[in-house]
Amino acid sequence: MSQIHVTTSINGDQTEFLCEPDETLLDVLRDRLGLTGSKEGCGTGDCGACSVTVDGRVVCSCLMLGAEAEGHDIGTIEGMAEGDKLHPLQEKFLQEAALQCGICTPGILVAAKALLEHNPAPTEEETRYWLAGNLCRCTGYDKIIRAVMDTAEDMRRAS
């Protein structure tokens, strides 16, 4: 089994890696590139803890081969803050205690950011359905949904 050479952009940085043909993007990120912010909660696309963006679209990195990343722009939780400046969603999650254990948080933030880029004024129902693929077992989702909607409102006001 020969390894595949892949050239991609991760969080804006051009990145090259070698991977096995059957290796997932999640395993590449975590085990080869040290980007352990994306988590594996299920490996079947049912929990969303491994959410990343590919050309701005949110996907489960456990259901994508590393080889498929060739030529695409990958965004992970590690690229969400700009330097020491947190993304407004990250700020709001902290202020509103929208996390407990924190294992689902990276995936939820990545998915929520994609939501606000796609729809700057989501309703509660739209927010809940958009995030339905991100399981959280601690919070009951209440504070997460509020934090996403409050961030959307702040961002609309600021723009």
């Binding site: 959410s51 949110v58 259901l63 080889a67």
Partner: protein
């Protein structure tokens, strides 16, 4: 294992012909990767079709729409004209999995996976979709109903793959709808699925209908009795009752972890009735 991502149909067909072992097609990968990781399959090669020209395109053709095999559910849902023409098919695709799954999952993949519970298949069957298959002898078109053969089984040959799916021109005063039942509001496999496509005549009666059921038998099937039950009606109570009974009677499900026989038969009728009402209203029908 090999991973190949050709850029032309010919190259893909050639690669398939060169493979003696187990080769799997990769479009969105949302079923394939699950099987791969759970060790249900151990392929010798994976053929990624996403870089093949046209595979990511939605194109107008003869009044209808051709959807490339690698077009994701999210891309379909963002295509306004497609949504307007075939709202039932698009909503069925949109129900597959999460936002994340929608970013990758495809109509063609949902069909190829061969699941009797595939959400988009009843909708496509009701829509009379035509599947374009690429293989060693070039391309051939077949009605979507000829693809599923049983759980996990399709009529595709080992050296063939789906290149695109064609949704025909939408006639006047017609529309479609798809509903499924799941225990939660998202993230489940359909316990029952029902697609209805219908056309009204000038008086507002159902002129022609197609009703398809999923997850209530070994493969997605058309229920002609259900269509007959509402043709010629304005979907009045009697027609709805007849449709409900036809769907319930046509369903031949099994008991499993997702539902019982009695439940599935009953809900097949409920969904048939509800989906027909939605399609009827979308087509401009008045109750």
């Amino acid at each position: 294992m090999r991973y190949e991502a050709p850029t032309t149909v010919d190259a893909a067909v050639e690669f398939l012909a060169s493979q003696s072992g187990d080769c799997h097609m990769l479009a969105g990968g949302t079923d394939l990767l699950v099987k791969l990781r759970s060790e249900m399959i151990e392929p010798d090669a994976i053929l990624d079709i996403k870089r093949i020209e046209g595979m990511k395109d939605i194109t107008a053709e003869n009044g209808g729409w051709r959807i490339g095999a690698a077009v994701s559910g999210a891309e379909m849902n963002e295509h306004e004209a497609l949504c307007a023409a075939w709202p039932g098919v698009v909503e069925a695709v949109g129900l597959i999995g999460s936002t994340q799954i929608q970013g990758r999952a495809t109509l063609a993949g949902n069909l190829c996976n061969g699941s009797p519970a595939a959400d988009s298949v009843p909708a496509m069957l009701a829509a009379d979709a035509i599947v374009r298959i690429a293989g060693p002898g070039g391309v051939r078109d077949v009605p979507v109903g000829e693809i599923p053969e049983g759980p996990g089984k399709t009529s595709l040959k080992a050296n063939e793959f789906i290149a695109s799916i064609f949704l025909p021109e939408r006639p006047a005063r017609s529309s479609d709808a798809y509903l499924r039942f799941i225990p939660r509001t998202e993230m489940d496999i359909a316990v029952v699925g029902c697609g209805v496509s219908l056309q009204l005549d000038e008086s507002g009666k159902v002129a022609r209908a197609r009703v398809a059921l999923g997850a209530v038998g070994p493969k997605v099937t058309l229920v002609p009795e259900a269509a007959t039950a509402i043709e010629g009606s304005t979907l009045d109570d009697a027609a709805q009752a007849a449709l409900t009974a036809a769907c319930t009677s046509a369903a031949s499900p099994i008991d499993d972890k997702r539902g019982t026989i009695a439940f599935r038969k009953h809900v097949a009728g409920v969904l048939g009735r509800r989906a027909a009402k939605i399609a009827f209203e979308r087509a401009g029908g008045a109750a």
